[in-house]
């Protein structure tokens, strides 16, 4: 029984990380209809910025994380300005490929600056754990859950109760109508890139903290967050979080009980995703596309 709880806790913690990455995807998708493949590089970039601020410059950890989020946000805006603004209105397919190109570039920039070695983020959590009724929980996992909850709450407030959020929703729904109402769609898109990159940076920090280490492959984890995003429905932040948990928990359980062989857990997210999408083609909370002639 303790074993099961242990796996569940691990699953929740893993799921929260996926959820954070997926939330970043959702923001950009909601505002622009683009799946941003470069999201993984923002994740890695955020973690490396934190490393640079905390370890190289010796700033306090919390401040470093904030700096990393701001830094990643700026990179997001810069990319939107220099590249994506120019292709506004082009086929979505071409824009998605551009983000793939960016993924290649940013990844190599990271390895050029920080090298290929594993680095230690020297986060305050380390490998500390707390014990709750026989179940061992690492501090970083608790913090990840709290941070994910906070981000989700912030998103809720942003989208529902601010004029920027309203503008974002309007721009996502119908860019031309939004423009006609005086909404600056360009600003909305720029803000979404910044927000998305900042959330990704936060995700990067949680992924590289604790027992984990920092390496350029960190960006790949974003690929595992794809199922989480799509499972919840691509335009739903709540769905992204639930999707993250579903994926995290099933993956943790398959790994823990070694279901279907030793390494099956690595493909489990995709299998779960395929099965759920067969039943619900727009994910758990996605908006069903109206089909008109």
């Amino acid at each position: 029984m303790t074993e099961l709880f242990q796996y569940l806790v691990a699953g929740f913690a893993l799921g929260a990380r996926y959820a954070l990455v997926a939330l970043g995807f959702v923001v950009i998708y909601k505002a622009t209809g683009v799946i941003n493949f470069a999201q993984g590089s923002f994740v890695a970039l955020g973690a490396y910025f934190t490393y640079n601020a905390h370890v190289t410059w010796g700033l306090p950890f919390a401040l470093s994380v904030v700096i990393a989020m701001l830094g990643a946000g700026l990179v997001g805006i810069a990319i939107e300005w220099t590249v994506l603004r120019r292709v506004l209105g082009q086929p979505v397919f071409a824009i998605i490929m551009i983000t793939v190109g960016l993924l290649y570039v940013i990844e190599q920039v990271i390895t050029t600056i920080w090298g290929n070695d594993n680095l230690n983020l020297e986060d305050p959590w380390g490998i500390d754990t707390v014990k709750v009724g026989g179940v061992v929980i690492s501090l970083i996992d608790i913090w990840t859950l709290i941070l994910t909850g906070a981000v989700l709450l912030a998103f809720f407030v942003l989208f529902r109760h601010t004029s920027m959020g309203l503008a974002m929703r309007a721009a996502a729904h119908d860019p031309e109508a939004a423009m006609a109402r005086g909404i600056s769609v360009r600003r909305v898109v720029a803000v979404s890139w910044a927000v998305s990159a900042a959330v990704a940076a936060l995700a990067g920090v949680t992924l590289a903290s604790g027992a984990a280490q920092l390496s350029p492959t960190l960006g790949f984890i974003a690929l595992a967050a794809f199922p989480a995003m799509i499972l919840g429905g691509m335009d739903s932040p709540l769905g992204a979080v639930l999707g993250g948990f579903v994926i995290g928990i099933t993956q943790s359980l398959t790994a823990g009980y070694q279901i279907l062989g030793e390494r099956f857990y690595t493909v489990m997210p995709y299998v779960v995703m395929i099965i759920i999408l067969m039943v619900r083609p727009y994910g758990l909370f996605g908006t069903k596309e109206a089909s008109r002639l």
């Binding site: 490929m97 551009i98 290649y104 493909v267």
Partner: protein, 363 residues
């Protein structure tokens, strides 16, 4: 009164003709003759680059049929290449089958997997389909790594797939006065297949199934309303595309004599999408252009950085490896390309052609 330019399209029959003018026929004939003469003057290295480009072109044409003509975005192409590669390797290696058996067998295996995956496209749309096919790559990867009796696991498997068609052995061709090397011989084999596949694809595209596929791409509900059987054509597109990918995979395995699961990752799928986007979505010759472009660029970068000391010094100074540079330039090229010409190389070519066709009224 002047005679009308024969390249002008005046009726539907003109629009779907394979060769629109005698000039076009002539230029194709010239192109084929030039291509046939190329290996005489090619080094092994150049032939090697060209063979990989040709293999990629076969699979890229397949992907373009699916994505460019039917509008179903697939990130699963690497999985189909892998299925073809391993099938080819197994059928030729374990069962000692000749070329005329293992190549169709690989295509058949790909087609069957496509037949299984195709129906997913009936239920999922756009990005959802893309991500599901992305999942397929990981599942295939897992199978390649763990079905050790067939695939040899992560260590990979060596491939002895002969390429003998009747009396002609495409691994060591010769004409009087010239013995071709293995690389040069494969050039002929691969590019003959590219030509056949391109012709097949072109013919599909300009006949009923192809028109139906394009109707599905443009608006599937409307296509359904005018009597296009959605399920049939979506699945057909998947079957065709995966069969071609599998064929390319088998040729790849045969040429390389060794394959491992690491060669069929998501990045391969992405490279194929890049090929058709760079080449031009919905253009058959665009896929070939794109395939040549994407497979050749990394080799050119390697060459250049090996040749010029200055490049190497610069890389050393900023702490970048040639591999890194390669990847970064690859990414940058895709970005630049799509920002400047989102419709690809093929579109540039079409624009040039249109300019001359409508001259002196070129707007």
């Amino acid at each position: 009164m002047t005679t009308a330019n024969p390249a002008m399209v005046r009726q539907y029959g003109d629009d779907i003709r394979l060769f629109r003018s005698r000039a076009m026929k002539l230029s194709w004939a010239t192109l084929i003759v030039v291509a046939a003469l190329l290996p005489f003057g090619m080094s092994d290295y150049q032939a090697n680059v060209a063979v990989y480009a040709g293999i990629a072109a076969i699979a890229a044409i397949g992907l373009n049929l699916l994505t460019g003509f039917t509008g179903q975005v697939s990130l699963g192409h690497a999985a189909f290449l892998g299925v073809g590669g391993y099938t080819g390797a197994y059928v030729s290696g374990e069962w000692n089958m000749p070329f005329m058996v293992w190549l169709p067998a690989a295509a058949l295996a790909g087609a069957i997997i496509g037949l299984v995956i195709g129906p997913f496209a009936l239920r999922l749309r756009g990005n959802y389909l893309a991500v599901v096919t992305l999942g397929l790559v990981f599942v295939a990867q897992y199978v390649f790594e763990n079905w050790k009796s067939v695939t040899g696991g992560t260590n990979g498997t060596s491939v002895t797939a002969p390429v003998k068609v009747g009396p002609v052995d495409f691994s060591k061709l010769s004409v009087p006065g010239k013995d071709f090397t293995r690389d040069q011989s494969y050039f002929y084999l691969v590019w003959i297949i590219v030509l056949l596949v391109a012709l097949l694809a072109k013919n599909i595209v300009r006949s009923r199934p192809g028109r139906a596929m394009q109707a599905v791409r443009d608006r599937d509900r409307a296509a359904e309303a005018i009597g296009v059987h959605l399920a049939r054509y979506k699945v057909l597109a998947f079957v065709l595309s995966s069969a071609l990918a599998a064929m390319a995979g088998a040729l790849y395995a045969s040429y390389q004599r060794f394959i491992n699961p690491g060669e069929f990752t998501l990045f391969v799928s992405i490279a194929y999408i890049a090929m058709i986007v760079v080449g031009g979505v919905g253009l058959i010759f665009g896929s070939v252009l794109g395939a040549v472009f994407i497979t050749t660029i990394p080799r050119v970068i390697e060459e250049v950085s090996a040749k010029y000391q200055a490049v190497e010094d610069f890389l050393d100074r900023i702490g970048m490896t040639v591999f890194s540079l390669n990847q970064a330039v690859f990414g940058l090229l895709i970005v630049l390309f799509l920002v400047l010409e989102p419709r690809g190389l093929g579109a540039i070519w079409l624009r040039i052609r249109l300019y001359f066709k409508t001259w002196p009224f070129s707007y």
